[in-house]
């Protein structure tokens, strides 16, 4: 039995070398929760391109879940070749674990973020509560829906964007900004663990008045549930959310997939991929594609994590650490 298996493996390996026609590449893309539809659209296009360029067949396996949860799984041995996350910190964690180089941001353009998005709103048909901006979320008669900021990267952006808005409205007064965020958090009726679960709560369970999630998700959901007449609302100010991508060097080297994994991520910057991204309501840097879909992306003033909070390390220490600001306004309410 054992010998049979080894023989079969040797045979398969030698066939693979001898007959390039049967060449088969396979990579695993471990991704964030709400990227399901996006990569279902992107992958076939890249597979076709890879076949045309190299003559090799490619399968791309997908795993979706909360970004931090996915990073933990990779640290524990999930054999991802590439990661496409919505949190830079989650790739930093992989770098700290020795799975990829610390300078991963320099490996691809735009800080290794092929596309970006921002926290935005989705409201019920006709916007009955007239929700226009972050300040409306703090109103007592408004129940916002977003996932648990402790487990969901998506919700962490929501928290930070609301905080940034609170800071600006109060002239940089942190105490007031925290009061503001606390008012929003305390009226959330349910905290799901992931972005998609929150969408379900809003769309299927019909709970809450406004779903706060990435603009890409609000666009996708409005299209998916066209019959329910959800409307997209873009706040006056929001937070630039990078969607970083990286090759998990250690795994890719072990599996011999570095070349295809790198090509896959580089391709995400091509006009073809950027067009698909824009169709899925992600904002892109390609000027032509941006112009083509301009109608889908309302003007918004974007601030960055570096400008407002002094970078992710500071956020981790001041906001996300045990007992830090997020715990104070979220947990100890």
């Amino acid at each position: 039995m054992k010998h049979g298996l080894i023989k079969a493996a040797v045979l398969a390996a030698s066939l693979g070398v001898a007959a390039p026609v049967a060449a088969q590449d396979s990579i695993l893309n471990v991704s964030y929760d709400i990227a399901r539809e996006l990569f279902e659209a992107l992958n076939p296009a890249f597979i076709a391109k890879w076949k045309a360029d190299t003559g090799r067949d490619l399968t791309i396996d997908q795993s979706h879940g909360g970004s931090s949860r996915q990073a933990r799984a990779i640290l524990e041995g999930l054999a991802a070749d590439v990661v496409t996350f919505n949190q830079e910190t989650d790739i930093d964690v992989l770098a700290e674990g020795g799975l990829l180089p610390a300078d991963w941001r320099d490996k691809l353009p735009n800080g290794a973020s092929p596309y970006y998005s921002l926290p935005a709103f989705l409201v019920r048909a006709g916007n009955p509560k007239n929700i226009q901006d972050w300040s409306d979320l703090a109103r007592e008669d408004v129940a916002p829906i977003f996932p648990n900021p402790k487990t969901s990267g998506n919700a962490r952006y929501t928290y930070l964007a609301a905080y940034a808005y609170g800071l600006e409205q109060n002239g940089g007064d942190h105490a007031k900004a925290q009061e503001f965020v606390k008012a929003i958090l305390s009226s959330v009726p349910v905290f799901d663990t992931g972005g998609r679960a929150a969408t379900q709560t809003f769309a299927e369970r019909e709970l809450g008045d406004v779903l706060v999630t990435f603009e890409a998700e609000t666009g996708g959901i409005a299209r998916e549930y066209a019959d329910k007449g959800f409307e997209r609302v873009t706040p006056s100010l929001s937070l630039f959310a990078a969607f970083p991508a990286a090759v998990v060097a250690e795994n890719a080297e072990k599996k011999g997939t570095t070349e295809v994994a790198t090509a896959y991520l580089e391709w995400l910057y091509s006009p073809e991929a950027q067009d698909i991204l824009a169709q899925n309501f992600y904002r892109v840097n390609d000027a032509e594609v941006s112009a083509k879909y301009a109608a889908d992306f309302p003007e918004v003033r974007l601030v960055t994590v570096d400008e407002v909070f002094g970078g992710w390390d500071a956020i981790r220490a001041e906001h996300l650490a045990d007992g830090a600001i997020l715990d104070q306004v979220f947990v100890n309410q």
Binding site: L75, T151, R205, E206, D322
Partner: protein, 280 residues
Amino acid sequence: MTAVAAPIRAKRVLPGFTLSLGTTLLYLTVIILIPVLALILKGAEIGPARFWAIVSAPRAVAAFQITLTAAAIATAFNAVYGLLMAWVLVRYDFPGKRLLDALMDIPFALPTAVAGLSLTALFSANGWIGAWLEPQGISVVYTIWGIALAMAFTSVPFVVRTVQPVLEDLDPALDQAARTLGASEVTIFTRVVFPQILPAWLAGCTIAFARSLGEFGAIVFIAGNLPFKTEIAALLAFIRLEEFDYNGAAAIALVLLFFALVLLVVSNRLQAWAARHRGA
């Protein structure tokens, strides 16, 4: 009581002691004990002070309280409903009895996640039952009642299936004697029947309680997962894990493990008591 006496003699006669015990110990060690030991080692790594800080943090304490409260509600419900089911299934004959009996195993066989998904949809404001409860001001989904409901669903067979065989074994002559002596049905139940099934009933309730403490799949869907309100301990352990906080997850898991082990020992004692009760 040949069953107890026999093994002593059997030790000399029957073969396979080394093989069967060896297999059992090997499997138990590899599949159950070593992984649990890994958890305990992780817990020990933390140190007592840090361990205490984690499990006595307000959020953790609240999660334990919520879990215990909901499990208590679920067990109280099952104590009554499970006993009623066992009684009805043993004492009465009616059409559809076998079907009702079979239905009592559904919670064992139905995947808990499927049960959770379905219960949530049923009891939410736009579900079949929720649409009817919500106008009365009764919210089930995303409240502690929802957690208790999911726990009650997954643990009811433990009560029914522990009480049922004991009830079946009861000597009807005792009832009859009491009845001839003029005792009312209620008196017969409380004075004659109930004392005899008490150990089994308590054992069933204890297991149901233990099962409720550990339930996860069904609850994550129906609970609101709000810290301090509807966040259960198993979910908190899961959340800690997602936050890369292995120590936090291990500490909370260890507390749950401790509860489970205590309850298991209690239940086994009760069942031994029940067996003696029956044997006597």
